[in-house]
């Protein structure tokens, strides 16, 4: 619906201006908030070794002078802002992402002043926290590329998490738990598909139904069954698997090649999704169904079947995403433990322009924001210019605020598959 966006040329111009101002604001914020309160001689030490000692090639720590670094970053942001205001960038999203990155970098350096901080560890943590979001984004991509909006990723994740724990606890086999989660996601997706495709229920309403049901059913069964039978709620977690040789590469090694199977699956799925979407017959047909289902229909492609299959695959990926919370970290199920990650995945999908690699990159950004609030608990730190400790709740809000900012800056420009959200009517 372009209604809110027309008149477009004025809006385009205003958006560029607004972006430029936003960049400038961030640059100034960097300088003002973080620069002065750092002592002039302070240094930030970033430890770059991670993982088991001896397994990775050790490299020296990175030591940065705090004030200089912060001012440099702030100036860089201001420069980009100036450029945006005067000339304007083509890929404004990218620059926005870059400046947000600079801000976060500055914040980190400031927070680490006088202390030492494990940077690689945090980057690894970023990948970890971004993984469920990436899986959510992938799930969304599979569904939406065929023009079915999947608001129920959250519910599918939650249900996947639940069944993975219960099955893994009963069978004492984590892989069976994984399989159960994937199947659960698939079943819920099939339900969504039937409602949206066969009964032509509004896709968002159908998604909300599944979300409410998933929340209710999992909480109900947790309170009713799992509380009485804690043995059913104790699955254990996946141990990280180190890939030989690759995991010894400094910095990259411990992050990408020494992690658990869920993360490996996510990385694998990002690549595979990209290949399937753009290099295979199935991908071409699915995208056609998403852009112009009538045209695809006239060429003999079964629109309904294509949508069903893609939505179910999307659901299975979402179910896998749910295992991150249980088999991948907590080893147990708690009510509503997904805490909105599924929705953030949708935002990542939009920010990534419905492309797998774009969605992956966006989820890393969200994962970053997410891991920040955990790591900052360790760093402590006060609100700038005060002696007040930063309340953790503010940091907890960060991912959600980030999502809103991203959506506001991006959605008008990002073009979804043309038939997104519209049920297909056969004559």
């Amino acid at each position: 619906m372009t209604v809110a966006i027309r008149p477009i040329s004025r809006a385009l111009f205003q958006r560029e201006r607004a972006m430029g101002l936003l960049f400038a604001l961030l640059g100034l914020a960097i300088i003002a908030l973080f620069g002065p309160s750092a002592g002039p001689e302070q240094e930030a030490t970033f430890v770059l070794n991670f993982g088991q000692a001896g397994k990775t090639t050790p490299i020296p720590d990175l030591v940065l002078p705090v004030q200089e670094a912060i001012y440099l970053l702030g100036l860089l942001a201001l420069f980009l802002a100036g450029f945006q205001l005067v000339r304007g960038f083509k890929a404004t999203n990218l620059i926005l992402g870059a400046i947000i990155f600079l801000s976060i970098l500055a914040f980190l350096i400031w927070a680490t002043r006088g202390k030492s901080f494990n940077l690689t560890g945090m980057l690894g943590h970023m990948l970890l926290r971004g993984a469920p979001i990436a899986l959510g984004a992938l799930s969304g991509i599979w569904c939406e590329r065929s023009a079915v909006i999947n608001i129920a990723i959250e519910g599918m994740m939650l249900s996947g998490a639940f069944t993975s724990v219960v099955v893994a606890s009963i069978t004492r086999n984590l892989y069976l738990g994984l399989l159960a989660a994937v199947l659960t996601g698939g079943v819920l997706a099939a339900w969504l598909a039937v409602l949206a495709i066969r009964f032509k229920v509004d896709q968002i309403v159908a998604g909300v139904v599944i979300n409410i049901f998933a929340a209710g059913a999992t909480s109900f069964l947790t309170a009713r069954v799992l509380v009485e039978n804690p043995a059913l709620n104790d699955s254990g977690t996946f141990r990280p698997i180190a890939i030989p040789l690759l995991s010894r590469i400094p910095v990259i090694g411990p992050i990408f090649f020494e992690t658990n199977i869920i993360i490996y699956s996510m990385l694998f799925l990002v690549v595979v999704t990209h290949i399937i979407l753009f290099y295979t017959r199935w991908g071409l047909r699915s995208r056609a169904v998403g852009e112009h289902p009538l045209a695809a229909d006239t060429l003999g492609i079964n629109v309904f079947r294509t949508r069903y299959i893609n939505v179910i695959i999307g659901g299975m990926i979402a179910g896998l995403g749910g295992t991150y919370f249980t088999l991948g970290s907590a080893g147990r199920f708690d009510e509503l433990m997904t805490a909105g990650k599924g929705f953030i995945g949708l935002a990542a999908m939009i920010f990534g322009k419905w492309n797998p690699f774009g969605g992956f990159a966006s989820s890393l950004i969200f994962g970053f924001a997410d891991s920040l609030q955990v790591k900052l608990g360790i760093l402590g730190g006060n609100i700038p210019y005060t002696t007040e400790p930063l309340p953790s709740e503010i940091l907890l809000m960060a991912p959600y605020l980030a999502t809103m900012i991203v959506l506001a800056g991006v959605v008008g420009r990002a073009i979804p598959p043309a038939a997104d959200g519209k049920p297909y009517e056969k004559q």
């Binding site: 509004d202 896709q203 109900f220």
Partner: protein
């Protein structure tokens, strides 16, 4: 038309009633569609929820483990489990008929109202619980009318509650006829603001309000955590995450005497429903909102300002949601603590859909949901978690949104193809 005068008048009355009928809950398909399908929807939802109750009950499960030896026992245990569960639901929401009768007799004979009040407690609770549902349901319905999906009612209720509680315990020295309205107004405005942000973002940037309102919800929860845990902000000195109690001058008066919690907010809610009806169908602003919801392109063509209507609709929606929160605080709890709103905002989505986004339908659906929730509290005493309501709701929404499903299950014949309401228009790209 060459009819006589009485014929013409009759035609006019029929036309007008046809118009009214189309506006209210009926829609296409007539009376049967309007009443039978929702009834069957609720019935089926109850059955499915009953299944959940049964399969999670260890007694029933073990009975079925021995099914071949003793099928009768398995069936009877199933029946008793479900019937006692729903019996509790009934007693918790409506009450025990015999007890009511006895209490009525006592009242008439001895003039003693206390047992009557006790007996009527369930009904009173049902009606009282329906108050936030009416407000929240109207909020979501109003959004739907403008084509907006306000999932943020939950957060708006919370914000409205927090704002009004603040006025309730912070503002001192005013009589009730100033303090109470002030608290209500502030709660309403807070909710309006919280919701208008998402409306504004949608109007300006096209960002879908589903995600933004969900994000605003999470922000509201975190904000509330922050405010409640800090004694310097809104928490208690002891550090427990609760606000102080509001002053009695801000109470919404309870109308039927202790222990009945039925309060004046009930009539406020009904008034709000009437107001919403008048607004949507009798004013130009309401006409615009409905048109933007029905066909935004035509609305633009007709000169309507889409952005302004989005913000207005979301703002009004948030006002109603804020009032829901304010009512709960000022009428029932008198403070805000953890778990302040047990999902009223999310339930109200189902409500609005069930009530076909029409004030009358919303009020009726709110009574239903209030009844269910009041009853579910009783079910909790039997070990049935309150989440059963969510399952019930999901089923109800689904069956209402896909009446073809109900017709399929019960082999109902279709008179005419009914087009389902579609809210989605993609991500606003």
């Amino acid at each position: 038309m060459s009819e006589g005068q009485p014929g013409k008048r009759l035609r006019r009355i029929l036309d007008q009633s046809q118009q009214v009928a189309k506006e209210t809950v009926l829609g296409i398909g007539g009376l049967r569609e309007a009443l039978l399908v929702p009834f069957l929807a609720i019935l089926t939802a109850l059955i499915i929820s009953g299944l959940f109750i049964v399969i999670s009950d260890p007694v029933v499960v073990s009975a079925y483990a021995n099914f071949l030896q003793n099928p009768g026992y398995a069936f009877s245990v199933t029946w008793t489990t479900i019937s006692s569960a729903y019996g509790a639901l009934f007693r918790g929401s409506i009450g025990d008929p015999r007890e009511i009768y006895r209490a009525l007799v006592t009242f008439l004979q001895a003039g003693d109202a206390a047992p009557l009040r006790l007996a009527l407690y369930p009904i009173s609770e049902s009606l009282t619980t329906s108050v936030p549902y009416i407000f929240a349901g109207l909020a979501v319905a109003l959004g739907f009318r403008c084509g907006l999906f306000n999932i943020g009612a939950e957060g708006q209720i919370l914000i409205g509650g927090l704002a009004s509680v603040w006025v309730g315990y912070n503002i001192t020295g005013f009589p009730w006829f100033i303090h109470l309205p002030l608290a209500l107004v502030v709660g309403a405005l807070a909710g309006a603001l919280w919701s208008a942000i998402a409306g504004y973002l949608k109007a300006r940037t096209g960002a879908h309000e589903v995600i933004n309102t969900i994000m605003m919800n999470y922000l509201a929860f975190r904000l509330s955590d922050l405010l409640l845990t800090d004694p310097r902000l809104m928490g208690r000195p002891t550090g427990t995450p609760m606000t102080p109690q509001i002053l009695p001058t801000a109470y919404l008066p309870r109308l039927l005497g202790s222990p009945l919690r039925f309060h004046a907010g009930f009539f406020m809610a009904l008034g709000a429903a009437a107001l919403v009806y008048w607004f949507l169908w009798k004013t130009t602003l309401g006409f615009e909102i409905r048109t933007v919801g029905a066909n935004p392109d035509a609305a633009r063509y007709a000169g309507m300002n889409i952005a302004r209507n989005f913000v207005l609709a979301m703002g009004l929606s948030g006002t109603l949601a804020g009032l829901a929160g304010a009512n709960e605080v000022l009428g029932i709890t008198h403070f805000v603590g953890g778990g302040f709103s047990p999902g009223y905002g999310f339930d109200s989505i189902a409500l609005a859909l069930l009530g076909k986004s029409h004030p009358l339908g919303v009020v009726l659906a709110a009574f239903l949901f209030g009844t269910l929730r009041a009853g579910a509290s009783k079910m909790q005493l039997m070990g049935i978690p309150i989440d059963i309501i969510q399952i019930l709701q999901a089923m109800i929404i689904m069956f209402i949104a896909a009446p073809a499903l109900v017709r399929l299950i019960y082999r109902l014949k279709v008179e005419r193809e009914v087009t389902e309401v579609v809210f989605t228009r993609g991500w606003g790209g």
